[in-house]
C-alpha cells in the first residue's frame, strides 16, 4: 500500500506504551495481583487463516485512560485483532492479556465490545437487548441507557432489522458504552453512519468512558476520530506500521492523522 517515498518518510514501526499516566482506578473491579499499569497487552500475536497470516506479529500495550485508534484499510487485520482480544477467536501464536489474564470467560467482564456488524439478529427488539445487558452485566447502567435510548429517538419496541444503519449503530453503541468496564473495543463505530451520528457516538465515548478504562477503536475512517483519540496506530497486512500519540505523529510528520492516513494508504 505505502509506496517507496512513504516508506522513506515513515519511520520503522515503533510499538510503544501509551505515554500519559492515567488516574488511579476508581470503581471497576480488577483481578487480584493486577498492577493496573497495563490494561491490555499483545505480544507477538499472529492469526493464521489457512496459509495467510491475517495478523502478523503484533505487539503493543495499552494503559488505562487512553483512547487508541487502530487505523487501516479493509483486510488489514483490524477485526481479527478485535476478535482475538475479545476471545471470540483464538490467536494462532503469541500472548494476549487483558487486566493480566488471557482472553476467557473471566475477561469478558472487563471488555465491552461493539462489532462492525449488528451483534443481534434482525428480529431482536431493543428491549430484549436491554434486558439481556441488565441481566448479564452487573456494570450496566440501565437508567443511563434508557435515557440515552430515548434521547436518540429509539423505541424499546423497535426491532434491529427495521432500523437504519445509523440508528442501529447508535443503539448498539449506547448499550456498549453504558457498561462501566475497563476496556471498550469498538470495531468501525463510525463507518456506516451519517456524519451527525458520528458526533453522537464521539460524545457518547467521551462522556461514558471511565477514568480507569481505555477505548480501543478500530476504523478505516480517521476523520471524525482524530478529535477524540490520544494514540494512533496504522496497521497494514497484519502488521503495525506506525504508532504514537496524536501529538507525536503531528509533530513528526507535520500532518494531521487523517492526512497522513490518506497519504500512506492512498485513499
Amino acid at each position: 500500500m505505502a509506496n517507496d517515498n512513504n516508506k522513506k518518510n515513515t519511520k520503522k514501526p515503533t510499538v510503544r506504551k501509551a505515554v500519559k499516566k492515567a488516574a488511579k482506578p476508581a470503581a471497576s473491579a480488577t483481578p487480584q495481583g493486577f498492577d493496573d499499569e497495563i490494561l491490555l497487552s499483545l505480544k507477538n500475536v499472529k492469526k493464521r487463516y489457512g496459509n495467510i497470516y491475517g495478523v502478523n506479529d503484533i505487539s503493543f500495550d495499552i494503559e488505562p485512560g487512553r483512547i487508541v485508534a487502530i487505523l487501516g484499510p479493509d483486510g488489514s487485520g483490524k477485526s481479527s485483532v478485535a476478535r482475538m482480544i475479545c476471545g471470540l477467536t483464538p490467536a494462532s501464536k503469541g500472548e494476549i492479556k487483558i487486566c493480566g489474564i488471557k482472553p476467557s470467560r473471566n475477561t469478558k467482564q472487563y471488555i465491552s465490545f461493539l462489532p462492525e456488524i449488528p451483534f443481534v439478529n434482525d428480529y431482536t427488539k431493543v428491549s430484549t437487548v436491554f434486558r439481556r445487558y441488565k441481566a448479564f452485566f452487573k456494570d450496566f447502567d440501565a437508567e443511563k441507557a434508557e435515557k440515552l435510548i430515548k434521547y436518540a429517538g429509539i423505541k424499546m419496541s423497535d426491532t434491529f432489522g427495521r432500523m437504519s444503519a445509523t440508528t442501529m449503530q447508535k443503539a448498539q453503541a449506547i448499550f456498549v458504552m453504558c457498561r462501566k468496564t475497563r476496556l471498550y473495543i469498538l470495531d468501525e463505530p463510525m463507518t456506516h453512519i451519517e456524519p451527525k451520528a458520528r458526533d453522537f457516538i464521539a460524545k457518547l465515548i467521551l462522556s461514558n468512558m471511565q477514568d480507569d478504562s481505555s477505548v480501543l477503536i478500530f476504523s478505516r475512517i480517521p476523520n471524525e476520530l482524530e478529535k477524540i483519540i490520544d494514540d494512533v496506530m496504522f496497521i497494514h497486512r497484519g502488521q503495525i506500521k506506525l504508532a504514537g500519540t496524536v501529538d507525536e505523529v503531528k509533530s513528526e510528520y507535520g500532518k494531521e492523522v487523517s492526512a497522513l492516513y490518506r497519504e500512506v494508504y492512498k485513499c
Binding site: P90, F113, R132
Partner: protein, 270 residues
C-alpha cells in the same frame, strides 16, 4: 447459576414461541378430527355413502398422527436452528460476549429444546386424551392393551411402559439435537464456504454411524437379544432394550455436547 437460568429461560421462550405454531396446528387438526368422528358430522352422510365418511375419518386420524410426529420433529429442528443462529452466525457476538462458559451456551440450547419437547408432548398427550372419547379408534387403541394383557395373564405394566417409551423418545430427540449441535460445531473447524457445509453434512452422518456402532456394542454387551418365544418375552426384551438405548443416547448426547463446547471454545470461527 442465575446467569445460566436466565439464558435457559430466554432460549426456552424463543424455541417455544417458534414451535408453538406446529403444536397449534396439531391441536386444531385434532379438534377437527374429533368433529369428523362425531355423530353430528356422521348425520350429514346418508348410509349409501358411508364409505366416504369412513374414508374422511381415517384420513383425518392419519393426518393428525403425522402432524403430531411433525410437531416433535419441528421442535428438534427449531432447537438446532436456534443453536445455529444464536451461536454460529455473525449476528451472535452479543451471546459470545456474555460472561458465561461456552458449555453453558450449548447446554442451555439443548435443555431448552428438550424442555419445549416435553411441553409439546404434554400438550399433545392431553390433546389425545381429550379427543379419545370422541374418536373411537383412538379410545379403543388406548383401552385394548391393558385388556389384552389382563385376558392373556401377562405380567405387563402399561403405565411403566408408557413412561419408558416417553423416556426413550425424549432421549432419542436429545441425542439427535446433540448430534446436530456437534456436527454444526464441526463446521467451525474449517473457514466459511462449501467446505463448512460439506463437513457439517458428513459430520452428522459419521456421528450417527458411530452412534449406531456404539449402541449395538452396548446392547450386545448388556446381553440383550430379541426373543420371540412368547409375548411376555417380547415385552421383557423391549423393556430392557428401551432402557439400554435410552441410557446410551443420554451418554452420547452428553459426549456430543461436550465435544461441541470444546470445539466452540478453541476454534470459534463465526
Amino acid at each position: 447459576m442465575l446467569k445460566f437460568l436466565t439464558l435457559f429461560i430466554k432460549d426456552f421462550c424463543r424455541v417455544f414461541v417458534r414451535s408453538l405454531v406446529y403444536v397449534l396446528i396439531a391441536v386444531i387438526v385434532s379438534t377437527a378430527t374429533s368433529y369428523v368422528w362425531s355423530d353430528d358430522f356422521a348425520s350429514k352422510f346418508p348410509i349409501q355413502v358411508a364409505y366416504r365418511l369412513n374414508a374422511i375419518r381415517y384420513c383425518s386420524v392419519g393426518i393428525w398422527g403425522i402432524l403430531v410426529m411433525f410437531a416433535a420433529v419441528m421442535v428438534v429442528v427449531t432447537a438446532c436452528q436456534w443453536f445455529g443462529e444464536d451461536i454460529l452466525t455473525n449476528r451472535s457476538y452479543l451471546n459470545h460476549m456474555l460472561p458465561i462458559y461456552t458449555w453453558e451456551l450449548v447446554l442451555s440450547k439443548a435443555l431448552a429444546g428438550l424442555a419445549v419437547l416435553c411441553v409439546t408432548a404434554l400438550i399433545l398427550t392431553y390433546d389425545v386424551l381429550r379427543v379419545s372419547d370422541s374418536i373411537s379408534i383412538v379410545g379403543d387403541m388406548l383401552g385394548i392393551i391393558p385388556d389384552l394383557s389382563k385376558s392373556d395373564g401377562l405380567d405387563f405394566d402399561l403405565t411403566m411402559f408408557i413412561k419408558l417409551g416417553v423416556y426413550f423418545v425424549l432421549m432419542f430427540c436429545l441425542y439427535i439435537m446433540a448430534t446436530a449441535f456437534m456436527s454444526l460445531s464441526l463446521g467451525q473447524l474449517v473457514s466459511r464456504g462449501i467446505g463448512r457445509s460439506v463437513l457439517i453434512f458428513i459430520g452428522f452422518f459419521a456421528l450417527v454411524f458411530i452412534s449406531m456402532f456404539v449402541l449395538l456394542t452396548v446392547v450386545k454387551a448388556a446381553g440383550i437379544t430379541l426373543s420371540f418365544s412368547s409375548i411376555q418375552s417380547i415385552f421383557d426384551t423391549a423393556e430392557n432394550t428401551l432402557k439400554c438405548i435410552g441410557n446410551t443416547n443420554l451418554v452420547l448426547s452428553v459426549l456430543f455436547m461436550t465435544g461441541a463446547s470444546l470445539i466452540l471454545t478453541y476454534r470459534l470461527n463465526v
